[in-house]
Amino acid sequence: VPAAPPAPLGCDDPESEAAAEVAVNYINARSHHGYKFALNRIEDVHVVLQGKGNYIMILELDLLETKCPILSPTPLANCTVRSFAEHAVEGDCDVKLQKLNGTISVLASKCHSHADSREDIRRICPNCPLLARLNDTEVLETVSAALNDFNSKTTGPYLRLLEIGRGQIQYHPAHIIAVEFAVGATNCSAEEAKVNVGACQLLPEDQSNFGFCTGTVVKSPSQDLNVDCQLYGHQVRTPDIPLLCQDTS
């Protein structure tokens, strides 16, 4: 007699939530860019019996971007979800998992992320800064000015840009550009970089030291620049997570 089909799972059942946690950790562990994502809602769950103690689970997940860069050692549970007024970014993921004798593992995942619509933000918060394109001229200029300013004052290693994570531009009541970007320590001190910056390369993987910077430029009514960078210190990478791709976007 064929095994009875598994009882339909609810999206808030403990088993669905356990599978969703495995899926979200998998997605974050294999992402190379941007920020960590946290679970916001389990949209749907399907279970297919494969055999005794062997199930395939298909989850449709609704995630939200957190403020933790993907390279940050901060545990996901301590990462704050970016609020609606900070122009939230949503991730929609379809994940296929296997539950074999009680152990859940991810077989495949496909995700798509998108920022909340500008109209939604404008309707509720007319003066909130909106996300700009990462290659927006003012964003690029602000990142460059902020990193140069930090490197000109730091007593630590010279930092190179890894990628721009986010850029927001506000026009009222002041014209402010706020940026967030990932950086890596190089084999130069800031002083050495002043002499020959071309020789300053990112540290090799076994000494890598990544970090994150936030910067703001006020263009009007006054002129001001603020930047803050934090290095994470060397992190031992778990073997199954591929190295951060070295391209700088």
Binding site: C11, A38, N40, R41, I42, L64, F84, A88
Partner: protein, 38 residues
């Protein structure tokens, strides 16, 4: 008319009596929102 009435009455008896204050369980999906809905 007798048939109709009989069917109507039968249907009425078949209907499962709901206990007072019965709240149907929430639909199994989508699940709860943990932060906010975009």
């Amino acid at each position: 008319p007798v048939t109709k009435r009989a069917v109507a009455e039968a249907a009425q008896h078949d209907k499962v009596p709901r206990p007072v204050g019965f709240v149907p369980p929430p639909p199994p999906c989508p699940g709860k929102i943990r932060h906010f809905d975009i």
